[in-house]
Symmetry: C2
Subunit: 334 residues, 2 copies
Amino acid sequence: MKKLVNKVDDAVVESLAGLCAAHSDLIRFLPEYKTVIRADTRTRSAKVAVISGGGSGHEPLHCGCVGFGMLDAACAGEIFTSPTPEQICEAVRAADGGKGVLLLVKNYTGDVMNFQMASDILRAEGREIEQVIIDDDVSVKDSTWTAGRRGVAGTFLAEKIVGAGAESGTALGELKELAERVNANVRTMGVALTSCTVPAVGKPTFDLPDDEIELGIGIHGEPGRERMKLAMSREMVEYLANAVLDDLPFNEGDEVLAFVNGMGGTPLSELCIVYGDLKKILDGRGIITTRSLVGNYVTSLDMQGCSITVMKLDAMSRALWDYPVQTPALRWGR
Amino acid sequence: MKKLVNKVDDAVVESLAGLCAAHSDLIRFLPEYKTVIRADTRTRSAKVAVISGGGSGHEPLHCGCVGFGMLDAACAGEIFTSPTPEQICEAVRAADGGKGVLLLVKNYTGDVMNFQMASDILRAEGREIEQVIIDDDVSVKDSTWTAGRRGVAGTFLAEKIVGAGAESGTALGELKELAERVNANVRTMGVALTSCTVPAVGKPTFDLPDDEIELGIGIHGEPGRERMKLAMSREMVEYLANAVLDDLPFNEGDEVLAFVNGMGGTPLSELCIVYGDLKKILDGRGIITTRSLVGNYVTSLDMQGCSITVMKLDAMSRALWDYPVQTPALRWGR
């Protein structure tokens, strides 16, 4: 295993400390709780706090999504491990300004359980807490770590749009409905060319022969739908895009955001080829792509591969996508 | 070799087409000349055109740097191969609005020769052309493909700052001086954990044992200073940072931008660990880091590794770094 790390046990904390040091204008690190909060807390009392968290290894999700127009706080578990209820409670206590809190939770058994326990504790403190589960992965129904569908790259879009909704003053009840609507309108499926390697394990999570790929891969290396021989980009993209588009389904005339997400070890140049192939399929179906995103946003450590996400847009979600944002992962237009 | 590509021969054009499709609000693709220009050409006649180009495989450099506040056009050669004089001429003809053209050229023999030939042709057409060579890599003096130092990650900073200078109305002569000053104040050195794999070759460019790293690596996999056993991040960073900081040299009290650049296959979480280690060294030397950048910006295909760049800032370069920018690679604050 070759990684840019010091002691493996310190990797999560050191990575978050480095992220916060590089973006000290935007975020602050609370190392005791592996929690990142906004540096600018002036707006705290004026808005609903949007908070997320999850296992590490998916950077820049979630801690890189803290900042103006996106999350108010995020807490990080160990690699591929849910944060504890205590961490989630501390993230909420650090960011709750009294207008209520919306928790965005990826659908994994550990995350769902720990966020639920935290919600119970926080409500008992008199806080107003709502949560929405994100489950955009169409590839498998139940998986290694999930009852129901997994939450994957669609989470990043949800954090952007819901975060913008909160920033623009949307109240908690309506914000929860917005988050549910985003989740209802977003679908994702991924492909792995190689396994990731968890630092503490030191060897690849799964074996994938040199001439095979895994379709429907999870972001922790969980099994997908099937393996096939290494194919051209357009064949892989067709498989993924058809599964995604037929699931909602997306129809001719629908307006969408198309998102090609890298798994961490795949360079931008390849993701752009995938985007070009995806765009042709969307055009061919008469689906109108008005927004797009291409890059490594919801990763799986050093895995090579990508996922394809398509989200139906309406006037509100489009405006909130365009809304100013200032985070390590995404910044524009303030 | 596992890559998200279709036919290997089409990879460069398909990748650029995908980049432009994903950012059609910002850029347009001229496929015949593998050139990317700004979508918004309204400002063309009001400013000096800043243009760059080079071999493919370093994305988002250079074509992802086209847009408001950075480049006006960029042309791409094949993987690790200079663009032809004809391509460079066409990029200039497409973007020159009559206020002069500044070419930013990485110091590789092929690039320098072809940009020089293009400059001669373009001057003969009556155009006002200046060029500045970027050679920020401290690791080796002459290398496989270079007389003198190589141009590496510092090029990205030069394109940002010089592009902002042009956008804000700086005239050609002064802009050339600015580019020379940026180059004089920026130093870089990189490390490879793995080789890159050129698609048309299909196997790693060089052999690097599982327990070794190459210090001073070039962005095409050219040999560096030395190999050593795989070490902790802070040991690698100390080696690179000392070489970079002692070269200019950077002194106590200097204000700098610190840039940790990924080589393409290294995830953000690891680059953040490197940034944290670099920041400690800068702090320890009393060097004041007021700006930073962490991510994959000047890559070497799928190579794992990173480079460390430090640039001395003054009031002007700091303001130009902060200047609004809207490109695929970088966008903020307009």
